[in-house]
Symmetry: C2
Subunit: 283 residues, 2 copies
Amino acid sequence: MATLLKGAAVVEALNQESAEMVKHLEQLGVSPTLAIVRVGEREDDIAYERGATKRCEKVGVAVKQVTLSGDCSEAELIETLEGLNADDQVHGILLFRPLPKYMDEDRVRNIVAPNKDIDGITDLSLAGVFTGVETGFAPCTAQACMEILDFYGIETKGKRAVVIGRSLVVGKPAALMLISKNATVTVCHTRTIDMPAVCRQGEIVIVSAGRPGIVDASYLSEGQVVIDVGINVTEDGNLVGDVDFEAAEPLVGAITPVPGGVGTVTTSVLVKHVVQAAQRTLE
Amino acid sequence: MATLLKGAAVVEALNQESAEMVKHLEQLGVSPTLAIVRVGEREDDIAYERGATKRCEKVGVAVKQVTLSGDCSEAELIETLEGLNADDQVHGILLFRPLPKYMDEDRVRNIVAPNKDIDGITDLSLAGVFTGVETGFAPCTAQACMEILDFYGIETKGKRAVVIGRSLVVGKPAALMLISKNATVTVCHTRTIDMPAVCRQGEIVIVSAGRPGIVDASYLSEGQVVIDVGINVTEDGNLVGDVDFEAAEPLVGAITPVPGGVGTVTTSVLVKHVVQAAQRTLE
């Protein structure tokens, strides 16, 4: 029977921390504000926007929704972002991606000012994850994995960690953050040979494979801490992770549930980053 | 008996490639030029400057030596770098580090224009290693390890690679580059528990531990490819790597010698980066 690393308790702690910081900032005349920039009406984006807005309101962070039509030009989007960069009343900018295919995403994402880049999408934010210097913010999902480990007091120093996935938003930043936290880190991906054998060696396993239930018992070993980043919708409309939970739960030491795990923490990390961005304007 | 992965052959191939590019660029009216910025008279720097200058001359790259006194101000150094950024006749800038302790190295290194940052010291260069987008250049030593693997036709795809060291100039960029080259990569460091056992699992091992001969037979297994980044001076004035060469050579499949391995290739990578930087001004 694995310990369930539920996101709710982490969310509560993060929200409380954020709410206290907001209170303090408001006393100093600063109202932390997040601008959410959405292009078009993709359902995923709208759902996330709703969740993020709710979470922001809960801790006292204001939200400014900026919605552009699905066929807006790249120039229009860039102008919008530059306006938000220049607006002292906006502390964080969340830009939904992927952008429409006719846009140069590498150019557009780097328009966001790093000090407002609360989801870690700019090169300078990513460089900060690399160097350990806070030039921007880490991608929220990778940061959420670390918050869960921290909250539940899971030691990383000297531990063998395996990260499945090498994306810019989860795999690579999570690996670098674990290295900073003194874990011995292995990164696996689609080209890895005998991934189950590699994965079984991890004491901490972060799974961001993007395929439902792909991590079965063959990947797992006794006592492991498993952080499941996957969020997949099954044919019958249920949410499942990248880990086969039924197979994992009797075997490993601790595991995050899906839903109710990493995903929910990610939103609170986003909110915390907005508050931190507001805080940094005073430093 | 291990195959010796000698740097000389890699250097020759890189130099030939660079020389041909230089010839082509000169026909287009561009003379690739490296500015070497040195603060003070540190022996290491002077030796490297001499080697780099010689290597540049060999392939037709011009060198502009800019030497500031050991007690120059940070403002003076920044002004010098900004002048070189603005100078269209300069394509690459090599800034020796560490800088004097009274300087803010993080600020100064980021003054270098990323498109002239041929040694990968700016945040934007490092972000490029992270994202795989060429915003600057990779750190030369990490790149030299990849050049050696490429030159000797060593397959990385699906191979288990172990990187010892997590520095910004070798360990982290080498790990990310190996991930891009489809290896399954493990990063070890001083906090790794039972590093010999971890290291023995690598089919490719990149050693940048900074301690002479620390990697002995207990770290190694049959058939491994060992890239030794270490350059250490022994008490009797000899150069040795971080790998105990005598112990490794009978056991592993291939190994870089020290001297005559990674170090010599690094200089040719630097020169190639200058030529590439000049090339990019035409694109």
